[in-house]
Amino acid sequence: MQGRPQAKDKPSGPGLTPKLQVALRVNGVERRVSLRPWTTLLDALREYLDLTGTKKGCDHGQCGACTVLVDGRRIVSCLTLAVMKDGAEITTIEGLATNGELHPLQKAFISHDGFQCGYCTPGQICSAVGLMAEGHAKTADEIRELMSGNVCRCGCYPNIVAAIEEVMHGTLPGSSP
């Protein structure tokens, strides 16, 4: 599947390392794409698969805005080469809702005002999904520490922790994390 012009596909020109065929299962759908080895998973998602929900913040693994789930584990997609994830199952923010119903964490971020500008939010929510799957956080202190890879410049941290706590402890009406 070919997306937009290859803005991030630098350097460009003839004589470069040829593209490689990569098969990614993204949000449950098999996607085949031809990529140079230096294309990150983040750029593959945004520039080749038109999944722009995943955000590019620092592009150096320091902000967490690009967090997605690979085979169920949260990782930063900006420091991941797409060719190294051939055959992997990728879940992005676009893949969390089911049958048009938002994921409990998406609902909780809305009800708790867990964002202002929203730029970090897809990464925050994917990271929180990973956090809950890992099962190591129980207390607010543990949530804060294990979410420290996701930076929020609007400073919505108290509301983000409250949203995660609510879903984690199953107190959101109709939620089943």
């Binding site: 630098k10 693994g61 990782i75 420290s148």
Partner: protein, 338 residues
């Protein structure tokens, strides 16, 4: 980024023969440091050899009574492994003090040893850095050197090794198992990383055609009396100004064995076995721990922005040993230092 080509290694011997044939190639596993360095134009391998398919993720008991950790075991899996948390909680604590949950999910055990310094000048290609470009000079020495070394530095380089895990592995006297063109060998942890001397571009004693295959932990893990105390500018997701891995073996009132390693202060995890020996037979006390700190920090010398780290390190050593002696290790979640 830069142009490079990409291949997968089929097995360890294929990985070794590929790296031996391609002087401009590098292995890639988690990629959390290497890809960043490539984006910054600090590292420019012509080829990446993907080793993530190699079967190096087992954690196995050794005949000696220790553990052997496959080099590709992710940091997060290692930190939460029951054998590690029970027998080597210092390793678990150090891992959880470092990076973020996402990066720990990606980063490998072997790769952690091979990460490069985060010295600002190493990353900034507009500045002089002997580690990045041998012979160009060191702009950190007269520059902003808050994060730089106070021990073991040279006139050519004052960078520090950034790892937390390695500080714990140094304290535990881990062994690095490597495979290369000339066969397999085991490198004691103290001999794995190097001081900068006049070749700061060489971080470790791993040969170019060698690959780390496992890290071995000796039987003694100091599970009852340990602490990993990390002091940093931000309470999470920041590199250490100073960190201390402490382990004590206490029988009755007396210390039978002691280990102290420092992070954030030198080009490699810093240990002074003679200082540790001075504790053997003594009762745990602030005074005894202060004496140890003084021995460890002998010769420490800072620069314009980091001389405070000498006193900070002294206090951190004493506090970490007190935490270890009291069996109240530093929590990596509740950040108050008690």
């Amino acid at each position: 980024m830069i142009d490079f080509d990409y291949v997968k290694a089929r097995d360890v011997s294929d990985a070794v023969s590929q790296i031996a044939r391609n002087p401009a190639a590098k292995f890639i596993a988690g990629g959390t440091n290497l890809i960043d360095l490539m984006k910054e134009n600090v590292a420019h391998p012509a080829r990446l050899i993907d080793i993530t398919g190699l079967p190096l993720t087992e954690i196995e008991d050794t005949k000696a009574g220790g553990l052997r950790i496959g080099a590709l075991e992710p940091n997060s899996d290692l930190a939460y492994d029951e054998r590690i948390t029970r027998r080597y909680p210092l390793v678990s604590s150090a891992l959880l003090a470092g990076a973020s949950a996402q990066l720990r999910n990606m980063a490998s055990t072997g790769g952690n040893l091979l990460q490069r310094t985060r010295c600002l000048y190493f990353y900034d290609t507009d500045t002089a850095c002997n580690k990045r470009e041998p012979g160009s000079g060191c702009d950190a020495i007269g520059g902003f050197n808050r994060m730089n070394a106070i021990l073991g530095w040279s006139e050519t380089c004052i960078a520090v090794h950034p790892s937390d895990l390695c500080v714990a592995l140094a304290a535990l006297e881990a062994i690095v198992h490597v495979s290369g063109s000339k066969g397999d060998r085991a490198i004691p942890f103290a001999d794995f990383h190097r001081l900068p001397g006049d070749t700061p571009q060489i971080d470790t004693n791993l040969a170019r055609d060698e690959i780390i295959i496992a890290i071995e932990l000796p039987p003694e893990g100091f599970p009852s009396n340990y602490s990993y105390l990390k002091i940093r500018d931000r309470l999470s997701y920041a590199f250490a100004l100073v960190s201390v891995a402490a382990g004590l073996k206490i029988e009755g009132d007396a210390i039978k064995d002691a280990r102290v390693a420092l992070g954030g202060v030198a080009h490699k995890p810093w240990r002074v076995p003679a200082a540790e020996q001075s504790l053997v037979g003594q009762q745990p006390s602030r005074r005894a721990f202060g004496d140890v700190a003084d021995i460890i920090l002998q010769g420490a010398e800072g620069f314009a922005h980091n001389s405070f780290k000498i006193e900070l390190a002294r206090r951190a050593i004493v506090r970490a040993l007190e935490q270890a002696a009291a069996a109240t290790p530093q929590s990596q979640f509740v950040k108050a230092i008690v």
